[in-house]
């Protein structure tokens, strides 16, 4: 039993949440505990990543809770994919936590902010690490429950309305997810993801269940994941919720919580259902090949249409917005499209090489979007804190009164646009690379993917230059001239900007980690062996 590090991040977040709940009468102590907890979480994740070692051995560890063996007990799995997601989430979460320590007013912090924040991290961590599909539902609920309260945190008019929409939508989503999970259990007879992957690949060996219902049920599940990721046509809750939430929470929602939906799509469709062979499937306007990865090939066009719609809807919406938060929220819809686009290519790709490249491109883009959008939301919060408004008509000339803050925003915007030394350049380049290679391999629709990516890239430039021109350049109005940006807030923004530059300069490491993550996502047999054990061995977890 030497695999406790798999649950370490989960435990650290949970203990911190409870500790901050207990010490809420002692404001100072609570904040210090919360920050320490955030730092400890960072450490626990680093420990896990160093053991999984995505740059080298790329191990897969599984931890069987209470030593109940895999298909029956609850399994927690850490592989390169979870490690990748956890690593960047932990950094963004820590930055958001430091930011909120001076951004959220002391009453708000005392009431519930810190426990909720950490409970949200518990949910996020659990979703990344769970190896059981029903547990995925439970962790989603833990994460959502805290995010509901954080969205309605200021509880003004706008906030209650946004939260109502967010809550009702997610509750319906949860019911749908439950239906899909129940159906999958009844069809395949298991909830463990590794066991599910094994059975779906070879139904004849496990009671010869019908494979066709799995496709329909996985589609129901897909709708829920797309809702969490804010993919069009499930994007309509995004703008109001992101605008209502406090800035560091928006940074978390866009940077981390959304990525849980993306992670679930990668894990469940590429690792678990990827091997399902469905024969005789035909839909109007869509041909699905028999055998091998037929189920993935079915999702390819769907992912492509949703990604393209997100890129266009998000880009156009962002161009039309008149406030920073609204612009960032719409931009986040578009950027999620950019994350999913290479996944669509990976789903339809004929060769393993393009498949790995596609998933890796999605992962790199997710990391870049997490950092850049986190930074931008925090910068927008700092602007609001300094000026008292984030509507473009009230702003302008921030470069003079808050040069460091403006610089941070500029770096974030450049990262999303994709300017060379920053991490965003590589993300965009990989998306285009994947689409280009798919096009060279003669896959239908890959030229369309190239076109959509190009339009999306142009829209990104359009809305960020508009934001920059109207918000940061020009003659400052009186409100802005008197603005005094708080040092601690600006420091976090600048630190994140440096991190983005650093990620771009040392991109080799990121690329290696993303490649390891993509390979782990596609290495079905490795995942199954690690969770269920290659033989009938007993005892603790398996390496």
């Amino acid at each position: 039993m030497s695999q406790q590090f798999v649950v370490a991040p989960l435990l650290v977040a949970l203990v911190t949440a409870i500790a901050t709940l207990l010490t809420r009468r002692f404001g100072r102590v609570q904040v210090i505990l919360s920050l320490l907890g955030g730092f400890g979480y960072l450490g626990a994740v680093a420990w896990l990543v160093s053991k999984v070692d995505p740059l080298g051995a790329s191990n897969i560890f599984s931890y069987q809770l209470a030593n109940w063996q895999a298909p029956f007990g609850i399994t927690i799995v850490a592989d390169s994919l979870s490690a990748f997601m956890l690593a960047f989430s932990a950094v963004i979460a820590f930055a958001a936590l430091v930011f909120s320590a001076s951004y959220v007013d002391s009453f708000g912090q005392q009431v519930s902010y810190h426990p909720l924040f950490h409970f949200m991290m518990v949910g996020v961590t659990g979703s990344f690490l769970t190896g059981d599909i029903f547990n995925l539902f439970v962790w989603f609920e833990v994460m959502l429950m805290s995010s509901y309260v954080l969205v309605v945190f200021y509880s003004g008019k706008e906030h209650t309305r946004a939260a109502l929409q967010y809550v009702v939508l997610n509750l319906v989503g949860s019911a749908v997810m439950l239906l899909a999970i129940g159906g999958l259990y009844s069809t395949t007879g298991t909830l463990n993801m590794a066991d599910l992957a094994r059975r779906v690949a070879n139904p004849a060996a496990y009671g010869d269940f019908a494979i066709a219902p799995v496709l329909g049920l996985s589609a129901l599940l897909f709708a829920v994941f797309a809702l969490k990721a804010g993919l069009a046509p499930f994007q309509f809750w995004v703008p109001s919720a992101y605008r209502a939430a406090p800035a560091p929470v928006s940074a978390m929602l866009a940077g981390v919580v959304k990525k849980v939906g993306i992670y679930a799509i990668i894990r469940v469709y590429f690792t678990v259902f990827g091997a399902a062979a469905i024969s005789g499937l035909s839909l109007p306007g869509m041909s699905v090949p028999d055998g091998g990865s037929a189920l993935l090939a079915f999702y390819g066009p769907i992912l492509f249409v949703m990604a393209s719609a997100s890129i266009i809807v998000g880009g156009l919406g962002a161009v039309a917005r008149d406030d920073i938060d609204g612009l960032l929220a719409y931009s986040s819809i578009g950027q999620v499209g950019f994350i999913v686009l290479p996944l669509a290519i990976a789903a339809t790709a004929p060769t393993e090489e393009i498949r790995v490249l596609g998933v890796a491109a999605g992962l790199v883009y997710a990391l870049n979007h997490g950092f850049a959008k986190g930074l931008l939301f925090l910068a927008s919060g700092a602007v609001y804190d300094a000026v008292g408004s984030e509507e473009f008509p009230d702003l302008g000339g921030l470069t003079e009164s808050a040069p460091w803050l403006s610089g941070g925003f500029f770096v974030g915007a450049l990262a999303l646009i994709g300017i060379p030394p920053l991490s965003g350049f590589f993300g965009k380049m990989l998306v285009f690379d994947a689409a280009g290679r798919a096009s060279a391999a003669g896959i239908d629709g890959s030229n369309a993917a190239l076109g959509v990516a190009l339009v999306g890239a142009i829209l990104t430039i359009a809305y960020f230059s508009r934001a920059w021109n109207r918000g940061f350049w020009g003659e400052p109005p009186l409100l802005v001239r008197n603005a005094d940006a708080k040092f601690s807030l600006v420091a976090v923004v600048v630190a994140l900007a440096l991190a983005i530059a650093l990620l771009g300069v040392g991109f080799d490491v990121v690329m290696q980690a993303a490649n390891a993550g993509a390979e782990a996502a596609l290495d079905r047999q490795g995942y199954i062996d690690a969770v269920l054990g290659a033989g009938e061995s007993s005892g603790g977890g398996h390496a």
């Binding site: 029903f134 539902f137 439970v138 609920e141 429950m145 509901y148 309260v149 309605v152 509880s155 003004g156 008019k157 209650t160 309305r161 939260a163 109502l164 809550v167 009702v168 509750l171 319906v172 949860s174 019911a175 749908v176 439950l178 239906l179 999970i181 129940g182 159906g183 259990y185 009844s186 909830l191």
Partner: protein, 114 residues
């Protein structure tokens, strides 16, 4: 026979829940969501199979040799019900808060004020 009755009831419950979710009154919407998630729970119970023996009583040979109903789905439903309680309570409190802030729980009026 039980299966058909249950299937019919489930369908009716889902229809009722959907109908309520589409109402203008927020309280009804919350009711609708609650009914939908409860019917998802009932559906989940049926996934374990209905015709088996009782798992505990039939333990040790009292089951008369036939297969037992799957107890796992019932454990799942327990979890789902607990989560459902929490979210319903939150949704109701939120409804009250919306009423306090906007002075109405009519979704159409709420939308017009935006």
């Amino acid at each position: 026979m039980t299966q058909f009755v249950l299937a019919g009831v489930l369908g009716l419950l889902f229809a009722l829940g959907t109908f309520l979710v589409l109402r203008r009154d927020i309280v009804r919407v919350v009711w609708g969501v609650t009914i939908i998630s409860q019917s998802a729970n009932v559906y989940l119970v049926t996934m374990g199979g209905l015709s088996g023996g009782v798992p505990i009583l039939s333990h040790g040979g009292h089951g008369g040799g036939h297969a037992v109903t799957d107890p796992l789905v019932q454990a799942l439903v327990l979890t789902a019900i607990v989560i459902g309680f929490g979210t319903t309570a939150f949704a109701l409190v939120l409804t009250y808060r919306v009423y306090e802030e906007h002075g109405t729980i009519d979704l159409l009026e709420l939308g017009e004020k935006a």
